[in-house]
């Protein structure tokens, strides 16, 4: 591949004034819409010690502005249950919802043997028809659960309510209880109708609450392993979790359960036996960690395995928690073994990518974490934002107390959690915890995206189709990261686009090998000659060779 071409010479820093850009983005909107969007478009500042600018997030999507957001059902079925292979997930509703969530999320799973259960390749639906809407669908739901049981004899069945279900008053929880009774297996439902909340995020919450209430803690068996952790918010897209398992395994750290990638019902049931919860995607799951700490006494920390340095840092952080010399040594060995290759590739790629610019608008934490990888190869993130995040994901966890609960959030159940009478066991004494904090160890805390971004960059929540197109026109970034719906719009503008939901069937991008994969992938995208070939020669120089013209 060509090492250098016109595109790889570092572009001059965008000289645009972000304030004006922001105005430009809002200019065309109707007043009401502009007022609403104005809150969600922020020019980043890093005030000395002071507070970051406040950003509007986790608020309603404006009808008609073309959002990239999905619904609560998508968040609920996708996030926790989707990647879990041994639960039969039945969508109760018309066929579409189940159909669209069928195999499209690329959560990889690897059953130990051919006899192990794997239902992830299947789509189960009650395919509600008009009469079910009119006369109620519980009867059909019951029958469907029975048919699923007869066919597969699974250890658990879960039910997902779609929009009409709530409206017609089908009680999925009642049916679940009834069938659980009848079949003697775990059956539970989720009221994740698509209209609830303001984005997928509500669905994550409902799913997490459900799994916490119905599964976590069902199996007290304490597994082998000296250093036991849970990985929260890791969904094994493109095999990320496999890479992390490889690394942690080399370090001698056992993963009791992953919420939820390559995950199983039994691992969830057993997850409360871990001694530390480590959180990847804070957005989708931090409250599970909270609940587990309250109920079982498991402390939690934020880690980040996106980026070579970040991976090393996170491993050290885990080791530091266990305060075990042997573990610390082992972790250093692993880092020493893995980093050279990472750095070799990084330098090679950096030589070709240095100074290029990126935009990231995706997810609830990825748009933040992946900036690290770009930074490692010398690329600058000039604008970013999330699709379904909350303020803390932008500004940091310290803003949580200040958040006011609006109507949409209020209707997402908050579980009342108390220490488990028998099983609450603080993993560390208050003294130990204090001592660690003393040393600057940060528990249950995370920074947001904004502190890590340069001043003057634009941070935009739930960016609209219109806004992203304006941004691209004005900044002409070298790469744009988002999801499948944006992919081809961006590329039609001649800008390479990388999906950070599905990885464009690439990956893994987490951990050491993941970082290497990502460096190379970005190198491919921003340095390929093809983007310079989009214009045909007769448009480059349209003049005609007069001498040849008709006489």
């Amino acid at each position: 591949m060509k090492i250098l071409d016109e595109k790889t010479t570092a572009p001059e820093e965008p000289t645009l004034d972000p304030i004006e850009v922001r105005q430009e983005l809002l200019r065309k909107y109707p007043t009401k819409t502009a007022r609403k969007r104005a809150k969600q478009i922020v020019v980043n500042e890093i005030p000395e010690g002071g507070a970051l600018p406040e950003i509007g997030a986790n608020t309603r999507t404006i009808p008609g502005i073309i959002t990239q957001r999905g619904c609560t059902y998508a968040g609920c079925k996708g996030v926790i249950m989707g990647p879990t292979r041994d639960i039969v997930n039945i969508t109760h509703g018309p066929i579409g919802c189940g159909y669209y969530s069928w195999l499209t999320r690329r959560n990889q799973t690897r059953p130990a043997t051919l006899d192990d259960e794997n239902f992830m390749t299947y789509c189960f639906s009650t395919d509600m028809q008009e009469q079910d809407i009119v006369f109620g669908g519980e009867k059909k739901l019951r029958a469907a659960i029975q048919e699923a049981y007869d066919l597969f004899k699974p250890k658990a069945i879960s039910i997902f309510a779609t929009c009409p279900v709530g409206l017609i008053g089908d009680d999925v929880h009642a049916v679940a209880r009834e069938m659980k009774e009848k079949l003697g297996i775990n059956v539970f439902g989720f009221s994740c109708e698509g209209y609830k909340g303001v984005s997928q995020s509500a669905g994550h919450h409902i799913a997490n609450n459900g799994i916490f209430s119905h599964v976590v803690g069902l199996n007290d068996e304490v597994k082998e392993g000296k250093f036991k952790i849970n990985l929260l918010g890791e969904y094994n897209i493109g095999g990320d979790a496999f890479e992390l398992d490889r690394i942690l395994d080399e370090c001698g750290i056992s993963v009791v359960s992953t919420f939820s990638g390559n995950s199983t019902y039994d691992a969830f049931a057993n997850s409360h036996t871990a001694d530390l919860n480590t959180i990847m995607c804070h957005r989708s799951i931090n409250y599970v960690a909270e609940m587990m700490e309250t109920k079982f006494g498991i402390p939690w920390i934020k880690i980040n395995f996106i980026g070579g340095e970040a991976t090393a840092k996170s491993l050290r952080k885990i080791a530091a928690y266990f305060e075990d010399a042997e573990l610390t040594a082992r972790v250093e060995e692993v880092i020493a073994k893995e980093m050279p290759e990472v750095e070799k590739v990084r330098e090679e790629v950096r030589a070709r990518c240095e100074g290029k610019t990126a935009m990231l608008f995706v997810g609830g934490s990825r748009a933040h974490h992946y900036q690290e990888l770009f930074r490692e190869i010398g690329m600058k993130t000039i604008s970013a934002g999330y699709e379904f995040a909350h303020r803390d994901d932008y500004e940091g966890r310290n803003v949580l107390p200040g958040l006011k609960v609006d109507a949409d959030s209020r209707n997402i159940e908050e579980l009342e959690i108390h220490p488990d009478p028998n099983r609450f066991r603080p993993r560390k004494s208050d003294e130990e915890m204090a001592a660690l904090k003393e040393k600057g160890y940060r528990f249950k805390d995370y920074d947001g995206m904004m502190p890590e971004m340069s001043p003057e960059t634009l941070v935009i929540d739930d960016i609209s189709q219109y806004e992203s197109e304006q941004l691209i026109e004005m900044y002409k970034p070298d790469i744009f990261c988002a999801g499948i719906k944006e992919k081809f719009v961006v590329q039609k503008r001649g800008i390479p686009m990388k999906q950070l939901h599905s990885y464009d069937s690439g990956g893994p991008y987490a951990g050491f090998r993941g970082a290497i994969n990502f460096y190379r992938e970005i190198d491919r995208l921003v340095n390929s000659k093809v983007w310079g070939e989009l214009k045909p020669p007769w448009m480059e120089n349209p003049e005609l060779a007069a001498t040849y013209a008709w006489d």
């Binding site: 819409t33 404006i62 009808p63 990239q68 579409g96 009650t126 017609i168």
Partner: protein, 458 residues
């Protein structure tokens, strides 16, 4: 095994659908609406529907798919979505400036019972619909029919909203292509054009969902049927609707509304159905069939006679939509292949009888499941193995587990390209289909042949 839990033994299911061979109405309506020039489809319901439909269409076409949503909240589902739709209409016309907003409903708004025309009138009254712009709508409850129904309904809505007859007869023919690829629509127009006919095609997604990569993005590209063209269809000399399920309703509506002479034909897949299409145009419009078309047909027949030995007697399992399956099955039977398992998730009147009639000459039992799902199809295959699978990308899981070659056809195809650029309709489409079938069969023969019978010439 990827589908390790699928048992050979078939037990009838009445409530649980597994691995569906259909999806819901709104996506079909969205696809059809994209076939109007300058139109932004709008999904009146939760934003998830719109996100899902856009993603599904995008994966299939690898093209931008623009559509808006009313983003229902819990509140709107209680008090109705009028406010959302009004605000959406205002935002859309202000920000994206389409000529038309084509609203389709969802299970949510249908269950609530929102009255779209009334809301549109309100928007009109509030001056939210600019001069010369339109808001059209169609009811597409997800719990009725399938994506094909949604496509058919939106197509019919084009007639309901725009078709008018001003007495005069225009020397043009209306072509309603049915639920096919942009490349197919292009090819159908090309055939009419080669026959010297002026045609109005609706919907027409060619140029929109198979657009070029030019480094410039246009939200509303050149393609699509224009409002003026839609207005004129009432005065056309004739209408041909392809695919009874997808095009029938629009054809009948146009006949009733403007009394345009019409025929509903099968999708022109394979030489027989294409013959009927060409010959019907010839007779309806009183033109001659030019040599170019006769030659294309002859090339298709050439492949059939040259390679007949590889088609003959091969067993095929196929899934798709009724209109596609009728034409495809006829094509396979006409070249002496044996379609033995036929599954669609969309039930439609007369479908099974039609397939029975087409496969009457097939010397082995033929299973037709309508409605059925891919889980059942897989079980059928386990009970009666086949040489070839024809269907969408989801079939690849069966193909791998059962080690049977797959020819990708229908919706969605998300793991290969070509379907949006090269047609499967018409004689040329038939040639392409046969090439794909032959590649699949011959690659398998090359793979499995013992060394002594590995063939140089095939």
């Amino acid at each position: 095994m990827l589908l390790r839990h699928t048992p050979k033994e078939i037990n009838k299911r009445t409530a649980l659908t597994i691995n569906p061979a259909k999806t819901c109405q709104p996506i079909g309506a969205m696809y059809a609406a994209l076939g109007i020039h300058g139109c932004l489809p709008h999904s009146h319901g939760s934003q998830g529907c719109c996100a899902y439909h856009r993603s599904a269409l995008t994966r299939h076409y690898k093209e931008p798919v623009m559509a808006a949503t009313s983003s229902f909240t819990e509140g709107s589902s209680v008090f109705g979505g009028q406010a959302n739709l009004l605000q959406a209409i205002d935002n859309i016309f202000t920000v994206y400036e389409p000529d038309i907003i084509a609203v389709h409903t969802t299970c949510l708004s249908e269950t609530i019972g929102d009255d779209i025309p009334q809301i549109a009138r309100k928007a009109q009254a509030d001056g939210k619909i600019p001069e010369g712009k339109y808001v059209i709508h169609v009811n597409t409850p997800s719990y009725v029919g399938s994506h094909v129904t949604g496509f058919a309904n939106m197509t019919k809505a084009m007639v309901d909203y725009f078709a008018e007859s001003n007495g005069g007869k225009l020397k043009q023919i209306n072509l309603i292509p049915g639920y096919v690829e942009p490349s197919d629509m292009e090819e159908i127009k090309r055939i009419a054009d080669v026959m010297g006919l002026r045609s109005v095609m609706f919907p027409d997604t060619s140029g929109i969902l198979n657009g070029p990569q030019t480094g410039k993005y246009e939200m509303f590209p050149k393609g699509g049927v224009t409002v003026d063209a839609l207005r004129s269809v009432g005065d056309s000399m004739a209408t041909i609707g392809l695919g009874g399920l997808a095009s029938g309703p629009a054809v009948r509506a146009l006949d009733t509304k403007c009394g345009v002479r019409c025929e509903v034909l099968d999708l022109p897949i394979g030489f027989k159905a294409t013959d009927r299409f060409v010959d019907t145009m010839r007779k309806m419009m009183g033109v001659n069939v030019p040599d170019a078309i006769t030659t294309d047909r002859g090339k298709l027949m050439d492949i059939i006679t040259d390679m007949h030995q590889y088609f003959y007697g091969k067993k095929v399992a196929l899934t798709g939509d009724p209109d596609q399956l009728i034409a495809l099955t006829e094509f396979l039977v006409s070249i002496d292949m044996q379609p033995v398992h036929i599954v669609t998730g969309t039930s439609s009147k007369g479908f099974v009888d039609r397939i029975r009639e087409i496969t009457a000459s097939v010397p082995v039992p033929v299973n037709v499941d309508a409605p059925g799902d891919m889980f059942l199809l897989h079980q059928r295959i386990k009970n009666e193995p086949v040489d070839l699978l024809i269907g969408n990308t989801y079939m690849k899981y069966i193909a791998r587990d059962e080690d049977i070659p797959l020819v990708r056809f229908g919706f969605p195809i998300v793991d290969r390209i070509g379907h949006s650029y090269f047609p499967s309709v018409g004689y040329r489409g038939g040639m392409r289909l046969l090439e794909k079938i032959l590649d699949a069969i011959l690659d398998r023969q090359d793979r499995d042949a013992p060394e002594e019978s590995f063939e140089l010439v095939m």
